[in-house]
Symmetry: C2
Subunit: 221 residues, 2 copies
């Protein structure tokens, strides 16, 4: 997920900015009136969630912010859960691919940096969506789907690492790949989201280094 602040540096549609654990609001403006309305409404969902939190997130507030009729929002998204789920599903509908830096540690560091940037800048959309997932089962489901999709896209990252001999034989299967990605990225969430530690710019690389070392030792094989 992209924090509100970093959205300003958004390089545009389809940019590989979202982490396996990051969400970027849809920016596409192609398509007809229906697509335009969806973009307006989902941008409004993100804006209202950031400003007013889950407690302030109502269909009426979103409709007002988006400048569309509330009936339109109720008909298409039904409720706040539907809005949050669609925001996350739309964020997954991009062309993101994992970073390719030439080494496993570098790739994992770059992934972690995206998560870090989204969480360390202070209250952002990422943290707001995760907080909302504790209150809306639909948001929780959509968040899980988003992350699983990101993990699946990272298979190529593991293939490259295996080809470079960075994964200690035997090559990990899908479960091992997922465990590697979770080991690399989970400390960033833990420190910034759960422990609420002061941001430490060394964290993305440190967590990546540990996961890469474990991978070399065959811990995910």
């Amino acid at each position: 997920m992209e924090s509100g602040t970093s959205a300003s540096s958004d390089p545009g549609p389809g940019a590989p900015g979202a982490a396996p654990d990051a969400v970027r609001p849809v920016r596409r403006r192609t398509g007809g009136r229906s697509a335009r309305v969806r973009t307006q409404v989902l941008e409004a969902v993100g804006a209202v969630l950031l400003e007013a939190g889950y407690d302030g997130l109502t269909v009426d507030a979103v409709a007002l912010r988006a400048g569309v009729h509330r009936t339109t929002v109720y008909r298409r998204w039904r409720d706040v859960g539907g809005l949050l789920a669609d925001l996350l599903d739309a964020a997954a509908d991009d062309t993101w691919t994992p970073p390719d830096t030439g080494s496993l540690e570098g790739d994992l560091t770059a992934l972690n940096q995206e998560v870090y940037d989204a969480l360390a800048a202070g209250p952002g959309l990422t943290a707001a969506l995760i907080a909302a997932s504790f209150r809306s089962p639909e948001a929780a489901g959509a968040l899980s789907r988003f992350w699983e999709d990101r993990y699946a896209r990272c298979a190529v990252l593991a293939d490259r690492a295996a080809a470079r001999g960075e994964l200690g034989p035997p090559a990990p299967g899908a479960g091992g790949l997922r465990a590697l990605l979770v080991t690399a990225t989970a400390p960033v969430y833990q420190e910034l989201l759960l422990l609420r530690s002061a941001p430490d710019p060394g964290l993305p690389r440190r967590a990546a280094r540990a996961a890469a070392a474990a991978a070399r030792a065959g811990a995910f094989s």
Copy 2:
């Protein structure tokens, strides 16, 4: 934190049951009337939070459940944030020490098992308190204090591992120890709390094994 279900197997006061990331409601019943009231009230906080969530957690509901006058609760705890913070501070006031299994991987697996047991059994107090921390700054602060205290107590675990040569020279400092503990435990939180994956009994050991492998490789030195 201890889930509601596992509380039934609570071995009693002072037992080393809580994980570096786990909370157990106070069970002590020693002390005078004031201590008794605190125990009753904090048990009621946990019970109401589990049953009705943060939205149902009010001073009045807690007072009713605890069988004490609401004025008593308002005077001593002020509000829901004060109640949650005291519940967490009280949970930290125990004699918990980290597991000592004879190996770093074993110790980290045992730690992870405590976190796993608290989170995998379904909706429990652990998850409810973490969810509440997204809404109450006081609960968030108390949760951070609780975890930091648990990490600090785990220094002995790292000392033993270093003495056994499991930490690859040079021995990690306090920052490295903390990173090791976060690397070991964060995947359990990530999978069960954020990704909401189906419980996998192999998870505690797998995450511990990866962290121990990284430690042997000197990733936290």
